[in-house]
Amino acid sequence: MAKTLFDKIWEAHRIADLGDGAALIAIDRVLLHERTGGVALQSLESAGYSVLAPERAFATMDHVVDTRPGRTDETLMPTGKNFIVATREAARKAGMTMFDIGDPRQGIVHIISPEQGIIQPGSTLVCPDSHTCSQGALGGLAWGIGSSEAEHALATGTLRIQKPGTMRITVSGQLARGVTAKDLALYILEQIGAAGSRGLVVEYAGTAIAALDIDQRLTLCNMATELGAFTAIIAPDDTTFAYLEGRPFSPQGALWTQAVEAGRALSSDVDACFDREWSMDASDVAPMITWGTSPQQAMRLGAPVPRTGASTRDTPEAVVRALDYMGLKPEQEIVGLKIDAAFIGSCTNSRVSDLRRVAEILRGKHVAPHVRAICVPGSSQVRLAAEAEGLDQVFLDAGFEWREAGCSMCFYAGGESFGPQERVISSTNRNFESRQGPGTRTHLASPETVAASAIAGQIVSPAHSEPTP
């Protein structure tokens, strides 16, 4: 019978059927971060369990850790240090690899896993973080879980899961110049909604997907959790193998040859059946921005925000509530809206390619005087690579803060946040109420749109900001 890519990975990892569609699935990699890693490991120990395969478990500092230059274990949140210390000690005790503060490999878990070659095509990887779906960009089955599930995966090397359904999103054609994977992700959210792929494994396919580099694939897969998906995956291809070859935790030598050979068999059979299919043309995508408090409340940059009752997916009350929170009026133009802050960072858009594109827009320019602009590289390697190219100076000269790597103000686990009613244009993934700060108004967009808007001091299309020749 024809199989999907997901079926193939599922079957290769199925240890036992548990009945009624559930199975015991082998987990190849477990990743932890300090927000929940310490809790999980401590809880495991107090229940008398140990970590089954510490050589396949990794931990990093990203969620709570400070990102201001010269950081230590201290955070703005008084108790933040406890999370860092607890995770460090528990990870050491468990014998797992730790990417600690000061380690050049430290960074946001979904940035460093591909960077280090921890995620591999055809592997299963879990992490107590919903954006683990990002890593499906490398052709592995990677998904976000809760803390209890993380404990289970650490103690048993397995998870008990109900087999999810599948959805193929086919993106034909090519994205127009200046349109990014972030715009594509927001476009899909606007089209199918925040529960559009609820519980399903989304396979992204089509010519526009094949043309994306790994960084852009990571951005696209990152936001599958905003669709409610179980996870997202893209079949591995030459782009994938070229990216992973030689990475520190990638297989080496003859093992790498075997891995690539097996990886080439990892695609959905031509006549494979998906539970849902959805298709679109990449040329329909333009730069996008969110207007509300759910990622599905997105629109083409340049369109007016909806009037109450015009949204097909949101109830009139939800639209009123979102507009009220965002300080917007029905049918108001979003372009030209004054911003207070601009944020470049997060597991969605903080890789070196993102920073290069932003630097091209910022070079020789300065952010508007009333705008606080912050750039947080996704990993210490990203930061070091950017600094080696002199990108940090471009950001600093343009009036951006240049930070240490971490999740930072995408949300505010470390205690640093934007202010009430502040309007922030952000390269992140969630525009929920108070996500970036109490009462903060977040507009999600591509890094290019964030950069162009930071310079203009108001929301503008990236096309309005031509790179300096």
Binding site: A26, E55, A86, S130, E149, R198, F411, G415
Partner: protein, 205 residues
């Protein structure tokens, strides 16, 4: 984990779609390395008059006297979307919630509920609205028969995965259950090391 068989309680209506886990418990309310002490942080952004404050906002459903003993929550589609933080389920459990009834749930949140003894009951929006109409009269969730019964006597069936139902009914520790299969796991791993040696650090081709 407390087993759940049949439970009768007041259900508090919070009929909004896409209630995210940042709303269920804001990041700033997660102050300690642990799974408890989170009840005050539950819905903190909506429950109190000020961010970071503790003065109850009388407009919020849980602050209304009729719902002070609520142990069920009624809500909209895609409940628990966003961050995978299990603190959302811990905070609900800490507060005393034993079930959430909604038209749909985010899958990670749904799993977190089951691991913490909270029953995620899926019902169409129309049924949820009807239950909300009958609140605060107590309703009953019967996980043995998979039935939900309003105080008026109206009854609906619900579906829940057999694995999840079994865990909830017995209040099982999933890790202990899985480790009963340790021999099977070891056999699988031994075979897998031969099939996919590149996955295992230190293996040779």
């Amino acid at each position: 984990m407390t087993p759940f068989t049949t439970w009768t309680a007041v259900a508090a209506p919070l009929l909004r779609d896409n209630v995210d886990t940042d709303a269920i418990i804001p990041s700033r309310e997660i102050k300690s390395v642990g799974k408890t002490g989170l009840e005050d942080g539950l819905f903190a952004g909506w429950r109190y008059t000020q961010i970071g404050g503790r003065e109850p906002d009388p407009g919020f459903v849980l602050n209304q006297p009729a719902y002070s003993d609520a142990q069920f929550l009624l809500s909209g589609t895609n409940f628990g979307c966003g961050s995978s933080r299990e603190h959302a389920a811990w905070a609900l459990a800490d507060y005393g919630f034993r079930a959430v009834v909604a038209p749909s749930f985010n899958p990670i949140f749904q799993g977190n509920c089951v691991r913490n003894g909270i029953v995620p009951v899926v019902q169409p929006a129309g049924v949820v609205a009807q239950l909300a109409d009958e609140a605060p009269d107590p309703m009953t969730i019967d996980l043995v028969a998979c039935k939900i019964r309003a105080s008026s006597g109206a009854t609906w069936s619900f579906e829940i995965g057999e694995e999840a139902r079994h865990m909830l009914l017995k209040g099982l520790d999933a890790i202990a259950l899985t480790l009963l299969r340790r021999a099977e796991i070891d056999t699988f791993l031994a075979g897998d090391r031969r099939r996919r040696p590149w996955i295992y650090p230190g293996a040779t081709a």
